[in-house]
């Protein structure tokens, strides 16, 4: 499987420029990483021969806020100057999975976005199920997909505030006058100073 991704890196480099593709085929999960601005061209390239990706399996989104060493992502790629010089910049990673039935292979493409308001082009026009997958990522992570035919929340209600899958998400106190937290008796006891004897949680507190 790692041979396929190395091959793709070389051929894709000759099509969109070798400073926009990076070979990550030696990791536990072999993949290629592309510059977010050329993601649409990369996926259109994989749809044609000789790779013939048949369908889009899934799109995953991750918030790399508390990942050990996320700065590696922006230092070892050829486009590291695109991320700027700020040390504490926030990174998001998107993983696209395409499956080819003729060749019985799976192609994995990654793109790393940065900033407080990340955005990337939508691949709506290439695959039909990309719309719902992108809506889920917009709903839970807040990444904007440009030129999408219909981008709105899918799991949460339309007037929800915030993006839950982010690592620093704190929900509002109330939603339409309904409290979002429940009364927790252990917290109440702690606040009143009552000691917890013979408690299975005692080891975890220490």
């Amino acid at each position: 499987m790692s041979n396929v991704h190395s091959e793709i890196t070389k051929e894709l480099g000759s099509v969109i420029g070798s400073d926009r593709v990076f070979d990550r085929s030696q990791q536990l999960l072999p993949s290629i990483e592309v510059h977010p601005e050329s993601l649409y061209d990369c996926i259109a390239f994989l749809k044609k021969k000789p790779y013939e990706a048949s369908y889009l399996d899934s799109i995953n989104g991750t918030d790399l806020l508390s990942f050990p060493g996320p700065e590696i992502h922006r230092k070892d790629v050829p486009w590291s100057s695109w991320y700027g010089t700020d040390e504490k910049i926030r990174l998001y990673m998107l993983v696209y999975q395409l499956v080819s039935l003729e060749h019985n292979k799976e192609y994995i493409v990654k793109a790393v976005l940065h900033g407080n308001n990340p955005f990337i082009a939508s691949i709506d026009s290439l695959f039909g199920n990309a719309n719902w997958l992108e809506r889920e990522i917009y709903d839970l992570l807040g990444i904007d997909f440009l030129n999408s035919r219909d981008l709105r929340r899918i799991m949460l209600p339309e007037d929800w505030e915030g993006f839950p899958m982010r690592k620093d998400y704190k929900e509002n106190e109330k939603y339409w006058d309904m409290p979002t937290t429940r009364f927790n008796p252990l917290e109440a006891m702690k606040q009143r100073g009552i000691a917890l004897k013979n408690s299975i949680l005692k080891d975890k507190e220490d």
Binding site: S58, N60, V95, E161
Partner: protein, 388 residues
């Protein structure tokens, strides 16, 4: 919260569901409905009996399972995988266990693999019983569903003797399974399978070739090859469109290379290839093939341990892993990302029903309401898989 929202949103049109035009009705095939297979809301815009637009509204069962997975151990997440799809719980369990074993390089003993396969194939039978029986129920036939439920009860009893639960098993563990077979299980299971093979033929006689049933299923919701690929359909939905792709044969895992079975591919038995009857009949064939697999697995199973030694606190190396498993609704994909500590960093579950729901908007337009009910039931969508 306001400062974390994106401010550079492009001008997508404000989406309004209520758009009054005369002669057009807007109906709610609401969250509570006897034939939407769970809690899914479909807003239909109809012109008389013909549907002009279908707008699905999901999210009533969103329990944020993926975020809960980041709070505990790798071992703690196993009961949550049962609830992702409660009708085929064993597939979800085994898929998660396979992903963690790939990440941490744990080798599973052979007897445990056979036990997982036996439980998974029983699970495939009972999941298809519900799919096929509920399809008949939607169209108004009560008897086939009740006859099949009797079989489901007997299989539930068999599985309860292995793992102690009837629906949400929590049977697979990281490194193997949790308990061994009780005495006398093999004889009971083989005797039951002899009886089950005759039941499938009785079901065929009852309903599969009934004239009314065939007329409501044939040539309804035809999904051809390009449409199936464009919307990412998996599982029996994909095979019914004439595409021979089964993960147990093409990307084999576990002990499936040693077992012989056929793959059910749609042939247009009554009508065109890729209509609802093909999707229905592929499931009936898969039930028969599953009973063959269980017989072979029971005879081939060796003695040995049922669980590998795993550390008390599992700290896999930093990295990501993807695992695919063929569940009764298609290809269940687990993506796990670890940051070297005890808790996983990100777990993502991609289910076959999520991709199947995306096809409703395109193919639902222009159908009669009754055909839409039949088409939706043939896709075999369960609501907790869509929302997680």
């Amino acid at each position: 919260m306001r400062d974390t929202e994106p401010t550079n949103l492009s001008n997508t049109e404000k989406y309004t569901i209520y758009d009054p035009i005369s002669d057009e009705m807007e109906l709610n095939m609401g969250p509570q409905h006897p034939s939407t297979h769970g809690i899914i809301r479909l807003v239909l815009k109809t012109d008389g009996e013909v549907v002009t637009r279908v707008i699905p509204d999901v999210g009533y069962l969103h329990r944020s399972i993926e975020k809960i997975g980041e709070l505990g151990n790798y071992y703690d997440f196993m009961p949550y995988t049962d609830r992702v799809d409660y009708l085929s719980a064993m597939h979800a369990n085994a898929g998660y266990a396979m992903a963690v074993e790939k990440l941490a390089h744990i080798q599973v003993p052979e007897r445990a693999e056979y036990l997982r396969v036996i439980a998974q194939e029983f699970n495939r039978i009972i999941s298809h019983i519900i799919a096929v029986g509920a399809y008949a129920l939607d169209l108004g036939a009560f008897t086939p569903f009740v006859y099949l439920l009797r079989e489901r009860e007997k299989i539930n009893d068999l599985i309860e003797s292995i793992c102690g639960a009837r629906i949400t098993y929590n049977y697979a563990r990281v490194g193997g399974v949790s308990q061994d077979l009780p005495d006398g299980f093999k004889e009971k299971a083989l005797e039951y399978l002899d009886h089950f093979d005759l039941i499938v033929k009785e079901y065929d006689r009852l309903i599969s070739y009934n004239k009314l049933f065939v007329h409501r299923l044939a040539n309804v919701g035809i999904v051809n090859r390009e449409t199936a690929f464009r919307y990412g359909l998996v599982g029996p939905n994909l095979r019914a469109s004439g595409i021979n792709w089964d993960l147990r044969k093409d990307q084999p895992y576990s002990v499936y290379p040693k077992l012989e079975f056929k793959v059910a591919v749609g042939q247009g038995w009554t009508g065109t290839v890729g209509d609802s009857f093909d999707r229905y009949y592929c499931r009936i064939i898969e039930m028969e093939e599953s009973s063959k697999i269980i017989r072979q697995a029971l005879l081939q199973m060796p003695e040995g341990e049922i669980r590998a030694k795993v550390p008390r606190k599992l700290k896999p190396p930093v990295g990501e892993v993807i695992s695919h498993i063929e569940s009764s609704r298609g290809d269940l994909m687990y993506y796990i990302m670890s940051n070297g500590t005890e808790n996983p960093y990100r777990i993502k579950i991609r289910t076959g029903s999520f991709n199947a729901m995306t096809i409703l908007e395109e193919l639902g337009a222009g159908m009669y309401i009754a055909d839409l009910v039949s088409f939706f039931a043939s896709l075999d969508v369960v609501a907790p898989e869509v929302d997680r």
